[in-house]
């Protein structure tokens, strides 16, 4: 049983907001601790609802959810909930404090941490997210990317083992999105977090270990990100578009030019120049 540590195990989980409208239907899932899993699917496929169930914000109508081996229910939720951090789409809706410092401290106060430890954690996580210089700022003085960093710092300061990102990057500009992705990569590499992210962002999906495709309230596929992007049928069923680099490689391939996807667009460009001058 205990060969691999599971962050989550879902057994026949179903959920409906209204009896006549089933949102999630009989979901079975196992998520290994320390892995980075992306939930993908079209608008309205049940991704956010599943995230809320995983975060304990909603209770399933049927089935069981185990968090690190403990079944989530009325009794266990109080000690399971602190294990799970959530970062949402709109950082404005998540900002509670009047300053960055107060915002990061808010959750810790709720947990009645000694003052010294609170101060230390606020500083440590603010530094980690490179917002140490913003501690006295009001949220309105921050950019979208900075606000989202505050939200991540506030979440990580609670030291959860599981962090759920619900489209946390979708409101950010490309640069801030890249920066958030870097934070997620570092979290993943540290091995200390199970990451569940809901996203349509191709690069973010590509960075994760595993993609779970939701469709009409069920799991339509459970594949590696690269498999997902190579499977046109699957892509259109979850209404995704492959990243530019992957599409370019495919377009070239259909014209008889085979390239290695490489690490970045610079590598692709090098290869293309070599190819053209090889004639």
């Amino acid at each position: 049983m205990k060969d691999t540590v599971l962050a989550y195990e879902l057994q026949q989980v179903s959920f409906a907001y209204h009896p006549q409208q089933q949102i999630l239907d009989n979901i079975n899932l196992r998520i290994t601790a320390g892995s980075w899993v992306t939930l993908v699917g079209a608008n309205g496929s049940g991704k956010s609802t599943l995230a809320k169930l995983l975060g304990g914000l909603l209770a399933a109508n049927a089935g069981k959810i185990y968090v690190e081996g403990t079944e989530m229910n009325q009794e266990s939720i109080t000690h399971l909930r602190p294990r799970i951090g959530m970062v949402f789409q709109n950082p404005d809706n998540q900002f509670i404090g009047a300053t960055v410092e107060e915002d990061i401290a808010f959750g810790l106060e709720g947990r009645c941490l000694p003052r010294d430890e609170m101060v230390e954690r606020v500083k440590r996580y603010a530094d980690k997210l490179e917002i140490g210089h913003l501690l006295s700022k009001h949220p309105a003085e921050l950019s979208g990317g900075q606000k989202q960093r505050v939200a991540v710092a506030a979440t990580l300061a609670m030291e959860p083992g599981i962090v759920i990102f619900d489209e946390a990057s979708s409101m950010l500009d490309e640069k801030a999105r890249g920066e958030l992705q870097l934070i997620m990569r570092e979290m993943s590499e540290s091995g200390g977090y199970t990451i569940i992210s809901i996203t349509h962002d191709a690069e973010e999906i590509l960075a994760s270990d595993r993609a779970i495709v939701l469709k009409d309230g069920g799991v339509a596929a459970d594949v590696s990100p690269l498999e997902l992007f190579r499977n046109q049928e699957l892509l259109s069923s979850c209404r995704l578009i492959a990243p530019f680099r992957v599409r370019l490689i495919q377009e070239l391939s259909s014209r008889g030019i085979e390239l290695d996807p490489g690490q970045d667009i610079e590598e692709v460009s090098e290869q293309l120049c070599r190819y053209i001058s090889s004639k």
Binding site: N43, N90, E141, G144, E174, R247, L248, C273, I276
Partner: protein, 299 residues
């Protein structure tokens, strides 16, 4: 000119925490029936700019001319007609919906401007269809929809007003990629077939490259670039200067252009167009492709 800004400045209250995002001496023109992209980072003034289009904000100095309306500092003028003709879609759809059914929400605008109920309902159904949602959504509560569906309803509620200018603030942010491509295709169709002026504020430059005929890049409340997509690609430094990430397609094209001496050509930006050009170069066909050939690549 559909839209003409003459030395427009706008200042939020100096003591306000929301003071950034103001406009400083903005002069720009938007041709009727064109598709314009406005890019810039958070706080660069692009949303403030958009809110001047239908008089939600009025300049503190300078003049804004939109269609046949002119708005200057302190003008109180009749804005009702302007607001019917300029449809604005804000960044957060949940803040734009308020009725208890989708149909009521979609009919609210037209009814408010004196359209008979039957026609309003007809427009509601048509607008919804344009966004790929069927009539089964009409009786539903908009607040029970997913984020992406709410956004589509919010956009449909603007289309029911049949405005001449459609201005959208980050309309694609919460949509799945195919819905994003479909929305841009719809906007492009409204522009080409119905002559609407479409203005889209975005930080996803790449996805709009096939559609936008001209670009405005904002930095610190001022446009630092106004021009065609080809000019934007050649002068990519403006994007970096504005703090924006360079789209991969622009990076790739410019690298190829420098190494292979293609600087004078119309840039190829879609995966398909670049692949085609590379194949042609390999075959030593040196005819550059015509611009616009990439529009079919959004899917």
């Amino acid at each position: 000119m559909s839209v003409h800004f003459e030395q427009v400045s706008f200042a939020y209250d100096d003591r306000s925490l929301w003071r950034h995002g103001a406009l400083a001496d903005v002069s720009l023109s938007i041709t009727p029936g064109s598709f314009v992209g406005i890019a810039g980072i958070t706080g660069s003034g692009k949303s403030t700019l958009l809110q001047h289009l239908n008089g939600i904000l009025k300049p503190t100095a300078g003049r804004v001319k939109v269609l046949d309306f002119t708005i200057g500092a302190g003008d109180k003028g009749p804005l009702r007609e302007l607001r019917r003709r300029v449809g604005l879609v804000f960044q957060f759809p949940e803040q734009q919906l308020f009725e208890d059914t989708v149909e009521k929400d979609l009919c609210f605008g037209p009814l408010n401007f004196g359209v008979p109920l039957e026609e309003a309902k007809d427009r509601a159904s048509r607008a919804l269809e344009m966004l790929g949602l069927d009539d089964s959504f009409l009786p539903r509560n908009p607040f029970h929809l997913s984020g992406g569906q709410m956004r589509k309803v919010a956009i449909a509620s603007i289309l029911t007003m049949e405005p001449d200018i459609i201005a959208l603030d980050e309309p694609t942010a919460t949509l799945d990629p195919q819905s994003r491509a479909e929305l841009l295709q719809l906007l492009s169709r409204l522009q080409r077939e119905e002559g609407k002026t479409v203005i889209v504020v975005t930080h996803r430059i790449e996805e709009m490259l096939p559609y936008a005929e001209s670009w405005i890049v904002m930095k610190d409340g001022t446009p630092i670039f106004q021009g065609t997509p080809a000019e934007l690609v050649r002068e990519e430094r403006h994007l970096s200067e504005a703090g924006l990430a360079l789209p991969e397609c622009i990076r790739l094209w410019n690298q190829l252009a420098i190494k292979l001496g293609l600087e004078q050509e119309e840039p190829c930006l879609s995966a398909e167009a670049i692949a085609e050009r590379v194949a042609a170069l390999y075959e030593h066909e040196v005819h550059p492709p015509t611009w616009g050939g990439g529009a079919g690549d959004a899917g």
